[in-house]
């Protein structure tokens, strides 16, 4: 492993400002999509007593 400390890991060799938003927005989009589909399914199947 190349990271001496947690701070070094978050700094990403000075590119943290670019690396973390990339992974963060990707996680947000994918998590958000799962949530949206879950809500959509709950709304669509809501009135029919279906899990």
């Amino acid at each position: 492993m190349q990271w001496g400390s947690l701070a070094e890991f978050f700094a990403m060799g000075g590119y943290g400002l670019y690396v973390w938003p990339s992974f963060g927005v990707t996680a947000l989009c994918m998590g958000g999509e799962v949530f949206a589909v879950w809500r959509r399914h709950a709304a669509a199947a809501g009135s029919r007593d279906e899990s």
Partner: protein, 253 residues
């Protein structure tokens, strides 16, 4: 084939697809979580810092899988759309409908992460370069297909119109893929090729491929989940009222 006792034709109806998709989703979701977890671990803790790009290169672990999925999902969507048109099969149109939003999301992510990578390496968030421009057009294609569908009330016409648009637009996928070869572009060439030795360290390639398979499994899981939404929504759609509804199908899971 004869001994399995599985009648594959029965899975081609929405009634049978609903519970089948419901049973498949947890497996693909678990695979996605596992693969993405391993991919992130290898990508951040095993793969070394790149000599020329420093740690900025680690964006590749989301950028390339997202870009790959954006093109791959478009082709799959177009294939379902084409099958729908050719066989006049409702489930095929429904699959195409279920794939489009996920494809659009990965196209956005490919552009966003590419921008995040472009700034430190090229010095620009965006350039009007062949690869970037054709990928931006792909995003507009996805949005156009989604909007066209939602603008037509008659489901049969919405299915056919968006399928035709999806099929016509498939021409852009090879343009995106080969853009780095056909035009003189700022974007680097393919990171992994079957014909050439990888230009990256083994652990870098491993992390990227594992993330790619993770995104692939994620796409299958979320698309099947959206397919289930579409099945229930269509059952309720006014223009389908005259057709046989599927109350048994949705309850039978």
């Amino acid at each position: 084939m004869s001994g399995t006792g599985i009648n594959w034709f029965k899975y081609s109806s929405p009634q049978a697809l609903y519970p089948l998709a419901g049973r498949m989703i947890p497996w693909f979701a678990a695979l996605a979580l596992g693969l993405i977890g391993v991919g992130l671990y290898v990508g951040f803790f095993v793969a070394p810092t790149d000599v020329t790009q420093g740690d900025a290169y680690r964006i590749i672990f989301v950028h390339v899988p997202a870009a790959w999925m954006s093109m791959f999902l478009y082709v799959i969507m177009a294939i379902w759309a084409g099958l729908g048109l050719g066989l006049n099969a409702r489930p095929s149109f429904m699959m195409a409908q279920a794939i489009a939003p996920t494809g659009a999301m990965f196209t956005f992510l490919a552009l966003f992460t590419g921008s995040m990578w472009g700034k430190p390496t090229w010095g620009a968030w965006w350039v009007w370069d062949a690869r970037l421009t054709s990928e931006l057009i792909l995003l507009f294609q996805y949005i156009g297909i989604i909007l066209l569908r939602s603008s037509i009330d008659d489901l049969r016409r919405a299915d056919r119109a968006s399928a035709v648009l999806a099929l016509v637009g498939v021409i852009n996928v090879p343009i995106i893929y080969f853009s780095v070869r056909w035009w003189n572009t700022l974007h680097q060439g393919a990171s992994v090729s079957i014909t050439a030795a990888p230009t990256m360290a083994g652990t870098m390639v491993t992390a990227m491929l594992v993330m790619m398979f993770g995104f692939w499994m994620y796409s299958i899981a979320v698309t099947l989940a959206r397919m289930r939404c579409v099945i229930v929504e269509r059952e309720r759609h006014p223009s389908w009222g005259k057709q046989a509804s599927m109350p048994d199908a949705v309850e039978a899971r």
